[in-house]
Symmetry: C2
Subunit: 429 residues, 2 copies
Amino acid sequence: MLNLHSLSEQTLLPGTKGLALHAPLKQSDIGAQHWNLLRGDTSFPVAVLKSSALQHNLAWMKKFCEQSGIVLAPHGKTTMSPQLFDMQLRNGAWGMTLANVNQMSIAHRYGVKKILLANQLVSPADIRVALHLMLSDPAFTFFALVDSVAGAQRLSQAVRDSGLQRPLPLLIELGLPGGRTGCRSIADALALARAVSGDPYLQLAGIEGYEGLLPGKDIPIVRQFISELIELTRQADAEHLFGTEEIILSAGGSAYFDLVGRQFSKNAGLSRPILPILRSGCYVTHDHAHYQKAIQDMQLREPGMKDGLHPALEVWSMVQSLPEPGLAILTMGKRDASYDMDLPVPLSSHRPGDTTSPRALPPGCKIEKMNDQHAYLRLPPDSETSLKLAVGDLISCGISHPCTTFDKWPLLLIVNDAYDIESAVNTLF
Amino acid sequence: MLNLHSLSEQTLLPGTKGLALHAPLKQSDIGAQHWNLLRGDTSFPVAVLKSSALQHNLAWMKKFCEQSGIVLAPHGKTTMSPQLFDMQLRNGAWGMTLANVNQMSIAHRYGVKKILLANQLVSPADIRVALHLMLSDPAFTFFALVDSVAGAQRLSQAVRDSGLQRPLPLLIELGLPGGRTGCRSIADALALARAVSGDPYLQLAGIEGYEGLLPGKDIPIVRQFISELIELTRQADAEHLFGTEEIILSAGGSAYFDLVGRQFSKNAGLSRPILPILRSGCYVTHDHAHYQKAIQDMQLREPGMKDGLHPALEVWSMVQSLPEPGLAILTMGKRDASYDMDLPVPLSSHRPGDTTSPRALPPGCKIEKMNDQHAYLRLPPDSETSLKLAVGDLISCGISHPCTTFDKWPLLLIVNDAYDIESAVNTLF
């Protein structure tokens, strides 16, 4: 992928989070250091991605999409990592989904040519940057969302002012009362579709919705919402409003993509082919709490979905103090691991230098609080004798919600199953 | 300050958060663009620091310290911004406080020579990096905390192995039952002080505590804790355990520094001078919620403290959708503003191009939720007619807890009171 080389050739300076550097180091030389996390060769905290789990997840999702007859535009905002974007595109992704124009500029810098911008695009300065990408690179296309005539008019005016010689492709966003963005009814969405279709500077390219935040997260509501997306698509097609050869029909966060896949793939009988696009972002690393539960629920709905996603992302820290019985203070905090959906999930302990594998922590061990740079690991009363934690022991934690852990790490280390540090990936937030 | 020039000379690429760049731009050329936030020249969201408030806070805290007879080692983890470190040092700071060795490496790279490392230092790889800084730069010193004999022994062994020809100066950390790190009693702390004092590779330099997290945040408990720090200092001095010419006595987050200042400054009668060090970090930008309340409480305790700190940090975003009555969806989310103590505080609205000043939002406007990249601004029913918000309007928000907003922005823009963009500061997380 374009420019990935420039990342691996960059010089990492002392102070790089996760590493214990005395002197500058070229990023591509990380593997040659033969560091091992369990030996304590990194700084702590450190965020690692398990290579085997990453590869499993990439292959699993590729197979899921093939079997469901849908394509994937993984949400890049989750990781904002060009190397992970590259792995996703090599594993068949149609393009990337992104959340704003700056994220889109970064993806474009690393060679991403098709972007679903899963947001309303309203800021004039940001619109100019986005249109400049299309003007300067004829091979580049992005599809933005629109949910109001006011929004469509802003875009139309900007395309006219820019001199772009192709119309800007848009997806009508359908929402639900009480939800986030999106037209609140099929009638409103159709009216907007007509406005977009009749504008020479815009092109109606498809229909979009996001089922991940529906109130109550209720399965019948999710199914009903997906049905409405399909119904809107049918009605807009019946009025010949789409201006593209394929009609994009997009939904799908990381929690209900089975339902999206199942309903989108049954769709047919329109005037032109449907391109069903799923936008899951968290599947690539998965997690140990929120999305683990979502995939378990999915497997109950779809018993054929064997061997689900594997959690790839762990944050390791060190016991820095054992100030009173039942409490260990760890060198990890709100700057290092997600805390918006659940606090980190303590997994195992390890004494650096021990040749044994990390030991699973007993049930009841819990991160009960985090400050900016500290975590409070509460140990159940009966576990202390068996655990015999000491200052300097390592603790691994799984996380809940990958998006809010990735944005805390400019660099994440890739490890094999023995926690040898093999390489690193960058994030650009 | 060393190397600051390298930051201003760096090239910012399209995709840099907060800016709407078509092409690379040298950071020092930002002012010459004559951008104005209210005209919509930046990307949205954008984080800005109001120059007048920054300057006020720097001067205010300098005066407070001078009047209290204490020195300031501002906690650099709040901002991790070399340019702000520089402003703090130019305004009389004794040195910087930092939370871990990687933060310390970054501060050292920008010329900080005295660091209070307000944490236990336990990871061997991190200790080696820290000692390497002392070995390679004789002018550099850091003071680490210690709260256990096990921790002191790890440090002693590391100093011996490193070949460092000066002892490592340590502060004994005193804590409280139910608190975070720190010895749980004066007796334990004294025993540890004796062990450090008797170790040829270590040097007892002072006593430290952190009152900011005391259970219940109860003023008598804070006063009692500060008294215990002083009492521990007296007892250790009576046993001649300190190995430095001055005895460091350090406490003070951003909420109770008046109490610390008042009690520390009354201290006398020891065998050698006390160097009372305050470690507040949030004062430099202050905020619109958590620390605003803390300073209001402080002014009730100290009526002489007129004209307190001013909030300098704002995050501006744009209305991207008005999907139903009473709800505006903003282009700002958990990636852009703190949400750990309070959600952002909506302050004002502005229509780009209007020549008037931003209009204060009416009472009852509230950010009720944030997703990764969206905020939900709830408008009170009676305000909609007067507000007449439109897609594309700007909304300014104050934040609560500067630390967890700074770490979301590699670059923050410095603005004057008219929101002209004058320059930028970097953060290095």
